[in-house]
């Protein structure tokens, strides 16, 4: 994963639980980097180790850590110089989700080792849609749930997010139902 992701995890832990908490997580995860370079590629295992250590430190399941991180990711990238680019990507939550794939493709031009997730919108109506999430990485579906909720908050709407098909239950990929409340 790119440093931007790891830096976001660090920022989340530091802002919510303090620097000391982050240092404990980092040490427990066996990560010797403290200042991540955002445009630099780091091994995926480092990110997974950080999530596992954060779960241990904060006493919440990894799934919950990922979900909270998903929500934080929206705010974080918004503050890290991607705010205008995100704003350009859609005026409503559903428009944004339709453009999410293209957004990752464009980011990929400058991050040549990026293996971005893919998001495909299907069956869009005024108040609901089906979102297909495909990733070469396993176990990150909870992050997408958090991401969708964080995005809904950004666009000032409330949503119900349901995982219809789950890759961990044998489905080809994760499929989310997103419905406006």
């Amino acid at each position: 994963m790119y440093g931007l992701v790891n830096k976001a995890i660090k920022e989340l832990i530091v802002s919510e639980h303090g620097e000391a908490s982050w240092q404990r997580v980092r040490t427990a995860a066996g990560v010797d980097v403290d200042e991540f370079i955002r445009m630099e590629q780091y091994p995926d295992s480092l990110t997974y180790d950080l999530v596992a250590a954060a779960s241990e430190e904060l006493g919440v399941p990894p799934v919950k850590v990922l979900e909270v991180f998903g929500g934080h990711w929206v705010k974080y990238t918004g503050q890290q110089g991607y705010g205008d680019l995100l704003d350009m990507a859609g005026a409503t939550l559903f428009d944004f989700l339709e453009n999410l794939d293209a957004l990752h493709t464009r980011v990929g031009l400058n991050m040549d080792k990026l293996r971005p997730p893919s998001f495909e919108v299907e069956d869009r109506t005024d108040h609901s849609l089906v979102l297909h999430y495909r990733s070469v990485r396993d176990g990150l579906a909870p992050m997408v749930t958090g991401l969708l909720k964080g995005l809904a908050e950004k666009f000032g709407v409330a949503v119900d997010v349901t995982l219809r098909d789950s890759k961990s239950d044998g489905a080809d990929h994760d499929v989310f139902m997103v419905a406006l409340k």
Binding site: L4, I37, R38, M39, D87, M88, A89, R106, L109
Partner: protein, 386 residues
């Protein structure tokens, strides 16, 4: 190659910022996004009403000049500053000039300011990717900047440690060497009465050095300065008094505890900071005054969200123009001959800041007062910090 046409609708989708003018330079067709950008349907109006040619410079807009410049990069500029960058294609049979291009922008913020979004651009148009690239570049430069700054801070902190070490090591080593020579002489002369006192002094200085080595890591801001702990002020002050009265001086030391809150910081850094400030008070005492004193006083801030420690002396004080500089590295106040390394207050400030505190100073002929202020951690946050 066969002639293939593209309907106006498709053409508009493929080139959302294009326009077509006739040989009078009247607009006959315009891309959907451009029309929105101009806030009006420009078809039928003169091009000059909306755009002037910015590049190539010195070109007077006319059908003929446009026709003769198919290989030039054109930038058209609207009255309110929209710049379109692209090229001209001329259909000489129909006497029409096509402008194909897109906005010439340097940041996503500019695009947003025009009310445009991703879907307003053609998918084949790389201008948005260019914005992403610029963003990536800015990110990389910002990271490089912040890392450079951190390295500079680390370097200064290490320098500070080295200078402080140099200073703190010299005095005890000189004393040890001196007493060792004295013992040597006494042994040669077989007068051993003072030897126990000399070895006692040597041991004292060795203890000082041991303490110093023990505190070394705490001196570096980036090293492991030890975990924050709840400060036991009576014990801290008693230790300070012990150390500061080891050498003889006429300065009266007072320690007053006036706070009720709980301070959780790195004890070694706090100790080192107070030691430095009180030592300065002793060093810069005013012999002309009838009594000399240094008072260390703690208090809760009026809003109870911070704890302050004031170190106040009635010494010689500092001139107003010195005050802004005293926390700089290597700055030395003019004063007694035993002037220091110029590192003391720099280190104090670095320590206080690394404990999330602030330090300020007031000074005049009546003496100096340094105020350290530490924000208090809410009790519930401290409780969970086992």
């Amino acid at each position: 190659m066969s002639e293939l046409g593209l309907s106006a609708a498709h053409f508009s989708r493929a080139f959302p910022f294009h326009f077509v003018v006739d040989d009078d330079l009247r607009i006959v067709q315009v891309g959907a996004t451009l029309s929105r950008l101009l806030d009006t349907d420009p078809v039928g109006h003169a091009l000059s009403r909306f755009f002037t040619v910015e590049q190539p410079a010195h070109v007077t807009a006319s059908y003929e000049t446009f026709r003769d410049k198919p290989n030039s990069l054109f930038i058209f500029r609207s009255e309110d500053g929209v710049r379109l960058r692209g090229q001209l294609c001329v259909d000489e049979t129909a006497r029409r000039v096509f402008f194909l291009g897109s906005p010439w922008v340097g940041s996503a913020a500019e695009v947003r300011a025009r009310g445009l979004g991703i879907t307003d651009f053609a998918l084949h148009d790389p201008i948005l990717d260019f914005l992403f690239t610029l963003n990536a570049l800015r990110t990389a430069v910002a990271d490089a900047d912040s890392n450079a700054k951190r390295l500079a801070d680390t370097k200064n902190a290490l320098l500070a440690v080295i200078f402080s070490l140099n200073h703190d090591l010299k005095a005890p080593l000189n004393t040890i060497v001196g007493f060792a020579r004295a013992i040597e002489e006494d042994v040669e002369e077989s007068v051993l009465d003072d030897v126990p006192m000399f070895t006692q002094r040597i041991q004292e200085q060795c203890h000082r050095l041991q303490d110093l080595v023990g505190n070394l890591l705490a001196l570096t801001n980036h090293g492991d300065g030890g975990a924050p702990e709840t400060i036991d002020f009576p014990a801290l002050f008693s230790e300070l008094r012990g150390l500061l009265t080891a050498t003889k001086h006429p300065v009266e030391l007072q320690f007053e505890i006036g706070h009720a809150s709980r301070l959780v910081v790195n004890r070694t850094k706090l100790f080192h900071s107070l030691l430095n400030l009180v030592s300065n008070g002793i060093k810069y005492r005013d012999e002309a005054k009838p009594t000399q004193s240094v008072v260390v006083r703690t208090a809760d801030s009026p809003k109870s969200d911070a704890l302050t420690i004031v170190v106040q002396d009635n010494g010689v004080g500092m001139a107003a123009d010195q005050l802004p500089k005293i926390f700089e590295m290597f700055y030395r106040c003019k004063g007694p001959a035993q002037a220091g390394s110029g590192m003391g207050l720099y280190l104090v400030k670095a320590h206080v800041q690394s404990m999330n505190g602030e330090i300020s100073v007031e000074s005049g002929p009546e003496g100096s007062a340094f105020t350290l202020q530490f924000p208090l951690v809410p009790p519930e946050a401290v409780a969970g910090d086992g």
